[in-house]
Amino acid sequence: MTDPIVALEPPELSSAVTTDELRSDELANTPTSWRRAVKRFVGMPVPMAAFLYIVLLLILTFFGHLIANHDPIDQTAHRFAGLSGNHWLGTDDLGRDTFSRLVVGTQVSIRSGFQAILQVLIIAMPIGLLAGYVGGKIDLVILRVMDAINSFPGLVSALAIASVLGPGLNNTIIAITFALIPGLVRLVRAQTLALREETYVEASRAIGTPIPTILRKRIVPGVLSPVIVATSLQLGYAILLEASLTFLGMGAQPPNPSWGNMLQRAFVFIFTEPLQVFIPAVAIALAILSFNLFGDGLRDALSQIEVKPPKGVKRGRLGLTSVKDATPETTQPAGTILAVQGLTVEFATPAGPLTVVTDVTFDVKPGEIVGLVGESGCGKSVTSSAIMRLIASPPGRITSGRVLFDGRDLLPLPFAEMRKIRGNDIAMVFQDPMSSLNPAFTIGNQLVEAIQLHREVSKADAETRATELLDLVGIPDARSRLKEYPHHLSGGMRQRVLIAMALVNDPKLVIADEPTTALDVTVQAQILELLKKLQREFHMAMILVTHDLGVVADICDRVAVMYAGEIVEQASVHELFANPRHPYTKALLGAIPQLAGSEDRLTTIPGVVPVPSLWPKGCRFSTRCEFVTDQCTAGPVPLEAAGAGQLVRCVRHDELAAQGAKVEA
């Protein structure tokens, strides 16, 4: 067969294979989930102890008759002989050695538990997979049958089946199997149903992979881990059922020893010889407990989410980001409403503190819109939250810097003072309006609450004000909208409500974090027009955090471009787009399809944004920059003035600007 793809591949392609670096943060480069789970499990002391006990039970199951120091059915000793060097746990009413019976009896409990669970798995897995994947009528019938079985308690249905089939260990195991099937079918079905909706399963369907293969390769591996957890928990239950049925005379028949019939036999003498009841009871309880603890440990080891925060990192209360040695400083730079100076933020991690925002300096003049731009992971959202001190401490902490707002440094302020400023002088608008509004209250409630929080006004006055605000942000029929809940409104309307909430106390500064990212373009256009109108009418200053350079070009006056926790370039919006000076800014602009002609190739930046722990020394963009030289990595690069009020963090900016001018000329 000819190979069209290879035939069409131009010869130079193989040499053009990029050696992009893979992600190298902690999430990546970890062994596959099973190996990770085993590693995690070994580190958990209680489940490990339970596991070792299960291993002991398994040894007794296979080699119990070798360990027993007497024949378990030998009746030659005295009845109730008491504890001695010969009879370690005494003897029973027929003079049989209790220790030997206990050890040999292990086999019955463990074998019936495992055999029942194995049968349950063989029957329930395919039924659950079928019900979950195929769905429809088949699913409905299977579900109803399982419900019918489930409507009797497990022991009752097992007892009913066992009495129909007659006594004996094998019949008991069949009864246990039957009682346990519905639970596992439901689990497998629910898991299958969830996995069926995964995009990678749809991808397999799009490839044309037959259903059995999809089930085997895409569904079963995902179903397996919860099934294994459930199985180990049900093993304990199966052992309990076996013991109960045997106690009731159904299971292993005398004289062969089992924990259940030991208990039954000794029960008659419970008042005279309580120890003989106690011994098998403890054996049963310990076996069940160990399977349950083992199952719980497995679940924790297999779950993707960390059960506990990593050692050494405590979760703090949300409220106020702590600040390391804040020295008050009150000289507000002339003509600014906000001046951020040398702001540095770090997060505590298991590997020690990690700086995520370094030496961020910028200011906002009254009535000005400043854009904070960058790709994900560049620190723009952390910066905007740090200004409001909204990062939880720990793990976050502001290690240095000043945030001067309207003649005050916000960083040394106590919580009560900071709360007065939030939502009052500085307001925030977030990306996702649904999660910023409380779904349980009407928008009227929420607006009135926000108004009354900072002002002593009557409820009626607050409602009037709320109506005015909704009017102002362009919500039609404002009065009646007050009674609606957030889910009644469309995404665009919800964002308008959030903006109205931000305006409640005529803030001097609004921090908007990706306010239009979740919206469709025609709705985004409405919101951008609204923000422009508000800024014009109220002379409100704004920080706009965004990754969309189109939005920046539309409404910002000045722009700060962030990369890897630093501001790399700062300029007026016209300067930035006309004469980008930092290679990163240039590359970002070149990567926008709208700016390139439809035939041009887009600029790409090799590699990925490095995670904070891997920031290079010197210029943080140096690993991906096409103009990199040795001087770039020599040491930290300062933010230097260049051109008309521009600031740029690049050692070669003059040289590159001259080169660029030459090329253009």
Partner: protein
Amino acid sequence: MTAAQVGTGQLPLVQMTGVTKHFPIQRGVMRRTVGHVRAVDGVDMTIPSGSSMGLVGESGSGKSTLGRLMLRLIEPTSGTIMFEDSDVTRLKARSLRRIRRHMQMVFQDPYSSMDPRSSVGDSVAEPLRTQLGLRGRELDERVADLFRLVRLSPTYRGRYPNEFSGGQLQRIAVARALATNPKLVVCDEPVSSLDVSTKAEVINLLADLQDELGIAYLFIAHDLGVVRHVSDRIGVMYLGRLVEEGDAEAVYSSPKHPYTQALLSAIPVPDPVVQRSRTRIVLEGDLPSPANPPSGCHFHTRCPYVMDVCRAVDPPLAVTSDGTRVFCHLIPPTGAEVLVPPAP
């Protein structure tokens, strides 16, 4: 007149006629059907072989549903979908599986479209095993070739999805889609979950591969800038209907339908000089619910040029002099010049 004849003159690869998808809305314990969401509402569309059709629209416009219908990943309520000379909507399960080798898909989020429990090499091998029956050394070599095709080192085959950046993983998803050398690839928002710089690498790759391999794309996106960059033709959808379809440059530079004009003017141009000199057409209100679309022209509730006829009568097809197909009462079906003021 079909779009293929209007367009490049090549043979149609896919021809959709009157394709409709109504999702039932079910309520209550008895799961009674109380209505239908008209996700796709009578769409005719032709994709000539080797060309790329961009499909734009806002959320709820039905563009993703249309892409899945084209591959019959969901069953259409009515309509026919001809892929070459077979009607995809009538194929039996086995023939449908066999034809999938010629039509593949790239999904929006690569992290959810690649099985996190399989190595990326194994995921790329899946179509080769299923469709071409490749095994062993041959399979391995082909997977390596595909990694090179998307400019990645074949040594990454044994890695798992979480070890890759979004852009790299999306390139691997492209490799998987191209494994069987398909004639059509439906790309559903392939770059919208990626950052600016990684977006560019995937767009460049898709454009290069089309030049090299002559694949036809249905390229679904909400970002007209991206779509224009990779498409020969552009279709614009609104509430389940195609409202305008034509040559990419024609749609982009002289949009005919008022919705297309508004959509284009809503996208901010990343250039402050240009952006601030434009007058933006700001549409009133929100997208109506597709469960209860407006009568007549679906766009009439938000259209700045609405007339009485728009509220009552479905707009007829008009073909303009530059070959654009438009559904709007303002444009006479004779193909005379555009009456709507052109977009700024």
